[in-house]
Assembly symmetry: C2
Homo-oligomer: 515 residues x 2
């Protein structure tokens, strides 16, 4: 201990004696940070969930330039506590119900520690065989848990790969689909390719299309409707595709979503895959959020039809206890990925690759370098076991149901779209005669009321929720899934929502114009 | 302790009592993994550096499917030691001299731990203000350390962003350049855009061009020559650009490299930027490896000319003690990135973004989600301080010089290209009359000899080096930079190279055909 004495070093820089990977110093400092984080998890429920700092706050706390001399870990951790923690929005708080969860776990954390500690760069098999092989095995494990058709598994000629995020998974599959198509119709036809999603599809699709050089005019966000619960309808898709074909364009790629970001809507895979098949389109199924739940038999039907898709992905870093980033992607035809994304420079050539007995994952993704991500997934699967993982997910769904039940007991509120998983979309509804004598657009006023209500609640710091606009309706999203959340937090959250709603009612009773 | 008793749980799954983020269980298991890794660093020098397993080895050690019931961390760590560690190629070994380093450090590791522990998803400012603000501050710190022109810093209207890898940095800047150009010449002209690098440029450029929809026929790997030390010559570039313009094509993007992967060659930035400016091309400077060294005044001249480039990147995860992944990218014109990569879905709208007072890094990169990577860079800069970081890098360069000196004392070997940084490219040279009576192509035979020599050395497991082919010459690359490497390891490595070379001489003396 004490070998990093700051005084000694600052007075005599040349004496800095410790190798940056000295095992004993690593041990000492590592234990300190573990304790720091354990204390953080103990306290995180007490912090304001949404950070309350103002833009530019950190500039006032931090020097203009990097220090010339070393600083001790004790000093740094003090600064983390006093300068960084207040600037965090606490995704691990039990009172976090915003966006979708970023569900951490001890096992996921430990897996990341091992991966970071080994710090290998697993671009090909040779660069660390364990990284490639564990990834292939774990992706088959997980594929089986999801009852993916065998054609998506290595054992059935397909295969799985860990990407960072869904954005990357979509960009890779879209590039593969694009090049397969251009190989057929000619490179110069890139301007004719059309990409399809719905108006509920995550913005990742449009961005991927943009990066991949699809003409911006050829991106289709097909309209969805309330009577379809905002799922993409095969009929609407077909209409759009037919119009495009008639205009001389070439349908390329459909991204179907199971569990959209706004409202967890589910696109109807069987019908969509049928339309796509007619026109030779690649179908990617994005189940970023809801895919996790599909390891439970009672939720598996949401991905029925996936057998006719070309690729499927979900984010283990969302609702599967595996820390960011960890997107699980399976493809039926790895060669399409490899043909679009492979490189074979001399400096990476090696016997194992030449033997063609190994997977080189660099050819399945955008980047060359890759972390040993499968370790964290392996640790999560083993530390908790399939039975408990299912139960954890079910407990979140159950809590969302409790919240839904509480809403239904308060006539001022409504649940706006069906709840399929652990996310509830609701709003406060004022009737037309309640609103300033009925002279204003009711929906617009309700939208504004809910916007203000949400901002008041979030500003309190007690809980954090976010919003969406679905079919013109502003909804508050309540997404259960933070690992530390228990039913009591959900019940307290509802009380808080009611409390703030009461403030609106009180304002109205005073005759004040509330929006 | 004992709350995770495996027996109890397996006999009664419903009793599984511990929240996956229970602070005390996190603490207990976290300390175990810290000790595991500290022991790993103590022992890593004893492991075979390049993994010695055969393809498919792991399938024999691991069950066919995920366990239904939880397993203890003790069991899992035993499996990590017995099944995973043998399948690692040990990038942290002091005897690792392959590719480029993946230089870990305690500070980098701790920063990653904090980032993983907080597990925030920092797509925009609001999602965790500290993540965005620390990144901007640290990128300005680092930009100043590199003496980048002010126009690359936030304080001068540009800005820095942490990407995962250089591949992503190039893809983002290329997409920005592409869209800026297409905005001018029309979307339909995408087939005319030309991307330039040299025949030494990293394969990331070609892959990025491929993904971004650049016509494969319009990718130029301009030839380099030994008399230019394999740096890209402005004269050669200009010849190629002129030919393309004459053919009706549109020069778009030049990736210039400072420290190429094969031989750490340096492209001549001032002349190249001049040519690029004449034709309105975007210049990206890829200093993935060598950028780190440029924080030392004596190496800074290698990036002279960067002031005329549009973007600059280097990998802190290579040779800057920051664990994978961490690529530092600066751009002069963040708006070009933002215009190409921004998305603005309703569900991410928030007051801070609307105020335009904040950076939303999601619009500077491919993915939406992003980890809190700046923490690890901040910890590295503060824990070691600028003076020591410079000294660490200098010590690696000094060790490479020692190795170079040892080579020069053995007349059988030659250093093939100038050594600029901490990587030495060398080979064993047999003269024509030594080689089977001079009847064979001398260079080809020497290439084969060095290939076999390298394979023998690597198969020993004592050290690990890799190769490149530069101007038709097969060279062995000796890259110093693993954090634990000391001069004794370098001297031992040289003895090992000599020992294996002696075996060749012995074989020859016995009149055996050695290739």
């Amino acid at each position: 201990m004490g070998s990093l004495s700051t005084d000694m070093i600052e007075n005599n820089p040349a004496a800095f004696p410790v190798n940056p990977l000295d095992p004993e110093e690593f041990r000492r400092q590592g234990h300190m940070v573990i304790d720091f984080l354990a204390d953080y998890y103990r306290e995180v429920g007490k912090y304001p969930v949404r950070s309350q700092v103002e833009p530019g706050y950190l500039h006032k706390c931090i020097p203009e330039s990097a220090p010339n001399q070393p600083e001790s870990i004790e000093t740094i951790l003090k600064d983390v506590q006093s300068h960084i923690v207040p600037g965090l929005t606490h995704w691990q708080s039990p009172n976090y119900f915003a966006y979708f969860p970023s569900s951490g776990s001890t096992a996921g954390f430990l897996g990341e520690m091992l991966s970071t500690g080994f710090n290998i760069v697993g671009f090909n098999w040779m660069s660390s065989p364990a990284a490639t092989e564990l990834e292939s095995i774990v992706m088959d494990w997980l594929g089986n848990m999801l009852k993916l058709p065998k054609s998506f598994l290595f054992s059935g000629g397909g295969g799985g790969v860990l990407q960072g995020t869904t954005c990357e998974a979509i960009l890779c599959t879209l590039t593969a689909a694009r090049d397969k198509m251009l190989h057929k119709i000619g490179r110069d036809q890139i301007g004719k390719l059309v990409v399809y999603g719905s108006d509920q599809t995550h913005c990742a699709l449009q961005k991927a299309a943009q990066i991949a050089g699809i003409h911006p005019a050829n991106f289709r966000a097909v309209q969805t409707f309330k009577f379809d619960s905002f799922g993409l309808s095969p009929v609407e898709l077909k209409k759009q595709v037919e119009a495009d074909v008639a205009a001389g364009l070439v349908p390329l790629f459909l991204c179907a979503t199971v569990g959209t970001t706004s409202s967890t809507a589910v696109d109807f895979l069987p019908g969509l895959c049928k339309v796509a098949a007619e026109y030779g389109m690649w179908v990617h199924v994005d189940a970023a959020y809801a895919g996790s739940a599909c390891i439970c038999p009672e939720f598996r039907h949401f991905i029925d039809g996936v057998e006719d898709a070309d690729s499927f992905s979900f984010n283990a870093h969302k609702w599967f206890f595996t820390t960011l980033d960890c997107c699980c992607l399976w493809v039926k035809n790895p060669n399409a990925l490899i043909q679009a994304l492979s490189t074979n420079p001399e400096y990476l050539k090696n016997k194992a690759t030449e033997s063609k007995q190994v997977v080189d994952y660099k050819d399945w993704q955008i980047a060359l370098s890759r972390r040993f991500r499968s370790l964290k997934l392996w640790l999560v699967l083993r530390s908790y076991g399939v039975a408990n993982l299912r139960n954890f997910l079910r407990s979140h769904v159950k809590m969302a149901k409790v919240f839904e039940g509480l809403i239904s007991l308060d006539a001022r509120f409504e649940v706006v779209v069906p709840r399929y998983f652990a996310t509830v979309c609701f709003r406060l509804v004022c009737s037309s005669d309640e609103i300033n004598g009925g002279n204003e657009d009711v929906n617009e006023v309700n939208n504004e009321i809910n916007k203000r209500l949400l901002e008041m609640i979030n500003a309190s710091g007690n809980i954090y929720m976010t919003h969406a606009v679905i079919g013109g309706i502003y909804v508050i999203r309540f997404a259960v899934g933070a690992t530390l959340t228990e039913e009591s937090h959900v019940r307290d959250a509802w009380k808080l929502v009611q409390h703030h709603a009461n403030l609106f009612v009180a304002l109205k009773a005073q005759g004040l114009k509330i929006v």
